[in-house]
């Protein structure tokens, strides 16, 4: 007797399929490549790498000069490991050649321009040809299917459109799959909830922090998320803490995945989470060659070890970027996944080599603070970090939001909670923080990228 069929288009169906290990119930957009043997994936990568390097050398003066200077020619690329002979590309290169210095085609072959949100500096502008747009939308179609999105779903966009790649990237990819787009854009949370109800929205695209905000506003309005047509949350634009995602899934009764990408190499679509390995994301390896390096030395780290992710988009026409240094720290695994895919998986990026804070000589990552707070029931997953100089010493201040049900009339128990949080943070970070308890809802919810750190020390 066979088990009853699982319908992933029913609310809760995708999570149930994953929990029962029945991944055949979940769709795969392009099994020919997503489930191909490793040798086949690598053969595709090598052929495309050779073409990409030749293309960059021929068409982009910056790369020709750089490769000539290093004494490397396109013909030197004979194996995938030969990628190490090529120069790295840093964000600074894209900024210094602003706006079109790295473009490999005339502007009349460009169909769309985008720019980075400039979280860490001046924007970077990128251009896409028709073929680039085609690859981009396909990469997105793949990752939205990992969450159980199917043709016919109605997807509501809560990212802002504009120059940011997230909005249009997901828009095109979802349309490519055969979904109806509802381009609501960011802001006006109550209207979002109204639209979900009125239009029967099944998929929500948002940053995780904004999804949480929509959830909370809906609860306050008395909206019944369990009865809502909404089934899937697609998150991006900022790292998604596991605790936050689990809470959104529980309170909104949806399945949520997040994906990874960056404007400089394409935008969203570089990798996406499947429901088998919720802490990892499958890389679209036929379009991106990955390396993991030691950020200090630039040398590769061992198989499966943590380091900085370096990406070379394969076959990108508008801007061919070689060995882009993401500054994102991760580890990549190549064993086949329970979901059926053979594409390599990267651990979700929880920290960047450049968002590390050095506090009184100790390295501290905001993601460590997030992990500790996620494990404390009395506070919400929202937090804010302030670093300042106090009497010549670095001071780390962690603001965390009290859950209403954790409040008691006793100042002593509030102080004990504050002490407990400080103690837990100290044992993980090896730095004693100052903990501030904040009222429920007192930490600002971001609509775009959540800004968790305010470093007030003089640079």
């Amino acid at each position: 007797m066979s088990a009853p069929a699982i319908n992933v288009t029913e609310k809760g169906g995708a999570l149930r399929a994953a929990a029962e290990g029945r991944f055949d119930a979940l769709p795969i957009y392009k099994p020919d490549i997503e489930c191909a043997p490793r040798e086949q994936i690598e053969a595709v990568q090598l052929a495309k790498l050779k073409d990409t390097v030749a293309y960059a050398y021929e068409r982009v003066p910056y790369y020709r000069a750089k490769m000539d200077e290093m004494g490397v020619a396109p013909a030197d690329i004979q194996t995938l490991a030969d990628v190490r002979k090529l120069p790295f590309t840093d964000k600074a290169v894209l900024r210094d050649t602003f706006p079109f210095g790295l473009f490999a085609v005339p502007l009349d072959e460009i169909r769309e321009l985008h720019s980075s949100s400039g979280t860490t500096g001046k924007p970077v502008v990128v251009g896409y040809t028709d073929d680039d747009m085609d690859i981009w939308s396909e990469c997105i179609a793949r990752l939205v299917q990992m969450a159980g999105v199917v043709p016919g779903d109605r997807a509501q966009m809560a990212f802002g459109y504009g120059m940011f790649t997230g909005g249009f990237g997901l828009h095109y990819g979802l349309q490519r799959l055969g979904c109806a787009m509802i381009p609501a854009g960011s802001g006006n949370t109550e209207r979002h909830i109204q639209m979900i109800e009125d239009y029967g929205t099944t998929v929500l695209v948002a940053t995780p922090s904004y999804a949480m905000h929509i959830c909370e506003v809906g609860e306050k309005m008395g909206y019944d998320w369990e009865a809502s047509p909404l089934r899937v949350g697609l998150f991006g634009g900022e790292p998604c803490p596991p605790g936050l995602k689990a809470e959104i899934e529980r309170r909104m009764h949806i399945v949520c995945t997040d994906n990874y990408g960056l404007t400089e190499v394409m935008g969203p679509g570089v990798s996406g989470e499947c429901l088998a390995e919720r802490f990892q994301q499958h890389i679209a390896e036929d379009h991106f060659l990955w390396e993991v390096i030691d950020p200090e030395t630039g040398e590769p780290v061992g198989e499966g070890e943590m380091g900085e992710l370096v990406l070379t988009p394969l076959g990108k026409q508008g801007i061919p970027v070689l060995r882009y240094r993401t500054h994102d720290l991760t580890a990549v695994h190549t064993e086949p996944c329970a979901c059926g895919r053979t594409l390599a998986r990267m651990d979700k990026v929880r920290s960047r080599s450049d968002d590390m804070l050095i506090i009184r000589g100790t390295n501290v990552f905001p993601s460590q603070i997030e992990d500790v707070l996620t494990g404390i029931d009395e506070v919400t997953p929202h937090y804010h970090i302030i670093v300042r100089t106090n009497r010549g010493m670095d001071e780390l201040i962690v603001e965390t939001e009290l859950r209403p049900e954790a409040f008691s009339d006793s100042m002593a128990s509030m102080e004990a909670l504050r002490g407990k949080i400080a103690e837990k943070l100290k044992s993980t970070l090896l730095v004693a923080p100052t903990v501030r308890l904040v009222e429920p809802g007192g930490i600002e919810r971001a609509i775009g990228k959540a800004k968790h750190v305010d470093d007030q020390r003089a640079k």
Binding site: E216, K220, L402, R403, P404, A406, F407, S408, D409, S410, M411, A412, M414, E415, R436, L437, V438, E439, P440, G441, G442
Partner: protein, 149 residues
């Protein structure tokens, strides 16, 4: 006999107590007495109000961290030594007063480590303990008197 006190967690910043008071106003809740204790970063606002359940509902609706706590409310004679006498009764039985504040001149609120036992002890002493209804009556009487004037 206890009085229902509303406690609210609030950050120690301008306007935060005002927000709580605005919620009370919108819910038609009158404050009869209050105290605000702080640690520098945050504080606990404590209120004795005419409609504790309505006050709690309004705060919860707004997402505030709040609880309702039973406290004792005593009406003291306005003579020297009265406060000391009451505190002495509790101290001799090892009941600690965690916090206390004065409500309406000689009406004081007490929160102790053992409210039930404190109530029993004080019931046997010459001290008037008042209920939520007494507060309402007191306010009503006073307005009546003022109206007569």
């Amino acid at each position: 006999m206890t009085v229902s006190q509303i406690s609210v967690f609030a950050n120690s910043k301008p306007g935060h107590m005002g927000r709580v008071l605005d919620l009370f106003e919108a819910a038609g809740v009158s404050v009869r007495g209050f105290s605000a204790a702080d640690t520098g970063e945050y504080g606990i606002l404590r209120f004795v109000v005419d409609k504790p359940e309505a006050a709690l509902a309004a705060l919860q609706e707004a997402g505030c961290a709040c609880v309702i706590t039973p406290v004792l409310c005593l009406k003291l004679e306005d003579t020297p030594g009265e406060l000391s006498r009451v505190m002495g009764v509790l101290a001799r039985c090892d009941i600690n007063v965690v916090y206390s504040y004065s409500m309406i001149s000689t009406y004081i609120v007490l929160s102790t480590t053992d409210t039930k036992r404190a109530f029993e002890l004080l019931s046997g002493e010459p001290v008037v303990m008042i209920s939520q209804d007494d507060i309402a009556r007191f306010v009503a009487d006073r307005s009546e008197k003022e109206a007569v004037k």
